[in-house]
Symmetry: C2
Subunit: 564 residues, 2 copies
């Protein structure tokens, strides 16, 4: 593990929703030597298309692929510089990406949005994971799969998400057939960025399984696709199918161009594309069966290995080798977590709080946390549903929305903030209980991501789950996980397990549940579950109807001369 | 109607929740010549007792009776001065008050809170209408009345409110028997202020009926009271019972002391005590059967005359002569309306909005209204329940709380503001439909109060109710109504109807429903009704349980050394 007598290094690059982060890691022990972040200049495109200024419909979320390449050009060299190391010592680079984030490309990998012919066409752009406008297509996929008894449906908790490859692909076909016709490959962002690094297209087992409905080596059948829409019959063969490589495999070697972008040596190993959540398991040394990793940021992904294949209702998916080769990898998720807290702080916290935070030199999040921390459990009298961004697990329904109950004229901002935190913790417990009830017990709850810095939030999760929390002690866990895969791809370790043991980082029992709190939260969780089922399982579909009325109102609105 | 060749005048004084307003009115035509407001220096006492700094339990709301006298001393002379008239021309004074607001007094009318022996005892203070801590007592009154089949229960929509005389009185007995024993009269604020003006205690038919459970000339029986609590058996005979006078009657003459306070002539007529809502019907010329007046401020009261006695589920009450002598007066109410908007603006509107409003020289309410006004009906995708201060009609349950559903990460403050306005409109429609369904049809909807200044809110009410709105065009309708009663008490008119015809003010059809809006709101109202019944009628009593958990948490909290 040395290069010319010096320590061998790897670089992990984590492509998030708003920015990409590069991390330089020592292969021998996982020491994090330096990192840098590059923010996407276009961010999330969900209001107007930059090229034209045209307003996007509700629930759309696009990105501009050049922003990803800018991370390679900027964050990687900056991380090397921050680490104060010689780039010549880098033996491999690994990446992870948001998913399911889809890039429509031509045969050479050029995104259609970069072609003059398509620059003004929204469907030519990257569909970010949180593009939720293909719900109608997802509904049809689910209904048809249920009707036909497709075996793969249960592998996804009984529901295919509107976020995934097939729903998004079908939306393109049905809303812009010209763009659809121009697509040579319908590529995961995870694989597209590896393509940029290696010059060749590889399709990784993780996203192909979780997002691409690849099960037991096959995709949904031509008959199934034709019944969805005759013009969709060849979607798999024309746009999706491609040789699969496993996680930790070497996808290829760094091209001269990518070496120029990054400042790294040409020809070094590039590991297979991977997902921000899934790379975190090895970063947290949590690849044993029953170790559930929750990567808590704007949303939360839950990933866990098991030796057994079971059908967990409402999970996102179970994929052979989806997290590490040789085990069944389970994924679940909460589509809004930190996003909800951010929305609240941005839209619902009064001037006096902003001023107090400013005068004390702390963030509004910190101020609200401090005020909420003095409360007894249930003191605020509130209960919320954490569906402001829909519900991924266990309901798999992006048409759901938020709810809060119990407000009085004495309700304060910190009360609502705490109730929102608790709602996400109840959402996490709902997922844990679904796994426990399906024969895939959660034995350890391992947390990573930006939210682990909030000690109150962590304690609330420990209390609500009534489980101690293990903390992935790297602040850049996904990037570390990508670096671990890079080390394996470079041949420095025989497999991901060995690399994780040497390079991963976890602290056990950092937060222990407080029995009184856990007992009080049991009562609130029972109330949460009642409302979860009432609003989420069909007893009262008011959330769906409100969405429908909203769409109809917006249609009326855009039909009038008033430009809103 | 002349005094020494000049126009005869009357003064109406409206005692609200936070302040009292005096208005000088010309007897001949109701012209409003001048007014003045005096804010209660103690406001609403709901956190700590001023005399001791002791923290009050949740749901308490007290007042300091000296604040009311200060209105006589300050607002009345200031109104005379503002009017630029000679006080010698004033021939009568009338008052209206919040209700049910109860003053515990000794035999001479001195409030117990003004006695050294009781100054530190919370139960010695005025219990303001929105004191909601006697819910347990109200629950027992209701259960026992239902069990015993008391005929009067149906006259109050099937439920006696925790706000009223008996629940509040029983709370005093059970929580502070020494204070209870010291009470010679359990007096409505409406009658207490008349007592201060005339030097003699009179009990008006309106509050005695609506709040004091006086029906067909009788109160609840000694047997009923004894079964509630043996020590409560003589509550009526010892504390409540007193000769009744009708609305518009002359209660007495202005004493020398009150003349000194007010600057008005000693010996002028003082009209019977009355309620802020009920005096508004004559002010708005809305005393005919089927004319429902909604006085919209922090809360809304609905008052309407009918020739017939019917049992309207969830009404506050029906009282013979409760609004005008000779008709059945119906009352219903929404316990939180403007209060909810104020709470929202104070607690949930971000700094950027406050800054924008400031820079434009408008209020935050105006800014939010302006932003909300550009929306189509249902565009915000939200639905709220307007129970932040409980629900008076038609559920009569102060343990209910607010709810909002449909939030997404795109939800803006103006969306929530509009949804809260709409929720109160749906609450009003629920009341109107209860009356329509019970054989007491609402033929005209007449609005008064501070909220009528908000044109968006008014239009939403017209659209939700699908009825045109008549506006009581006095900005000080209750004070004008009190002045009308003063004129009758002074003998200037034969009865309230004649005085109202000459002095009242109403504009018909100021807001007309827009058919498209009304149709869209029909859909939202159906959703509101489903949630109203789910959370309000026992299908899911989560709001009650959250209140219980909150109380238990606060008990734990105060049991710890942390002083919150």
């Amino acid at each position: 593990m040395e290069a010319d007598g010096r320590d061998a290094l790897v670089v992990g690059v984590d492509f998030g929703t708003l920015s990409g982060r590069a991390l330089v890691v020592r292969v021998s022990d996982g020491a994090e030597l330096g990192s840098a972040v590059h923010t996407y200049s276009h961010g999330v495109v969900d209001e107007v298309l930059p090229a034209t200024g045209a307003r996007l419909p509700p629930d759309w979320a696009l990105q501009v692929p050049g922003d990803y390449v800018d991370v390679l050009k900027n964050a990687v060299p900056a991380a090397i510089e921050a680490a104060g190391v010689d780039p010549a010592d880098v033996i491999g680079i690994g990446t992870d990406f948001t998913a399911c984030t889809m890039v429509p490309v031509g045969s050479d990998g050029t995104p259609l949005s970069e072609l003059v012919a398509f620059v003004s066409r929204p469907h030519a752009y990257v569909k970010l994971w949180k593009h939720h406008a293909a719900q109608g297509q997802a509904d049809r996929i689910n209904a048809l799969a249920a009707k036909r008894g497709e075996f793969w449906l249960a592998r996804y908790g009984g529901l295919i998400s509107s976020e995934w490859e097939f729903a998004k692909g079908l939306q393109v076909l049905e809303e812009d057939p010209e763009v659809y016709a121009a697509i040579d490959h319908w590529v995961e962002g995870a694989d597209w960025i590896v393509w940029q690094l290696t010059g060749r297209y590889t399709r990784n087992a993780c996203t192909a399984g979780y997002k691409g409905i690849r099960q037991d080596g096959k995709y949904p059948s031509r008959e199934f696709l034709a019944e969805l829409n005759p013009d969709f019959a060849d979607f798999v063969t024309d746009k999706v199918e491609w040789p699969i490589i496993d996680l930790g495999d070497r996808a290829g070697s760094l091209t001269a161009q990518a070496a120029e972008w990054t400042g790294l040596p040409e020809g070094i190993a590039v590991s297979a594309g991977n997902v921000d959540a899934h790379v975190t398991n090895p970063a947290g040394q949590a690849i044993q069966p029953g170790q559930m990793v929750a990567i808590m940021g704007t949303s939360t992904c839950h990933t866990m290995n098991s030796e057994q294949l079971h059908e967990v209702p409402g999970m996102c998916g179970v994929v052979d080798g989806g997290i590490t080769k040789g085990l069944w990898g389970y994924e679940a998720g909460q589509s809004g977590v930190g996003d909800i807290f951010g929305w609240f702080v941005h839209n619902s916290v009064p001037e006096s709080y902003a001023a107090e935070a400013r005068s004390r030199g702390i963030s509004v999040h910190e101020l609200l946390t401090e005020k909420a921390a003095t409360q007894q459990v249930a003191e605020h009298g509130l209960l919320a549903l954490d569906w402001h961004s829909g519900n991924r697990s266990v309901l798999v329904d992006h048409e759901l929305s938020g709810m809060i109950i119990g407000q009085t004229l004495a309700t304060k901002p910190e009360d609502i903030y705490r109730a929102l935190i608790e709602a996400t913790a109840f959402g996490a417990r709902t997922i844990v209980e679904a796994f426990n009830g399906a024969g895939v017990p959660v034995r350890e709850f391992v947390v990573a991501g930006g939210l682990i810095k909030n000690a109150l939030l962590m304690q609330i999760y420990a209390d609500v789950l009534n489980m101690p929390l293990t903390v992935v002690s790297s602040e850049q866990a996904p990037a570390l996980g990508s670096a671990i895969h890079a080390a394996v791809a470079a041949g420095a370790y025989p497999d991901v397990a060995a690399a994780a043991a040497a390079m991963g980082k976890a602290e056990r029992d950092v937060y222990a549940p407080i029995p009184d709190h856990a007992a009080a939260y049991d009562q609130l969780f029972a109330e949460y579950t009642t409302l979860h089922d009432y609003f989420g399982r069909g007893a009262n579909d008011v959330m769906h109807r409100l969405r429908g009325l909203r769409r109809a109102a917006l249609d009326r609105s855009t039909a009038t001369p008033i430009d809103r």
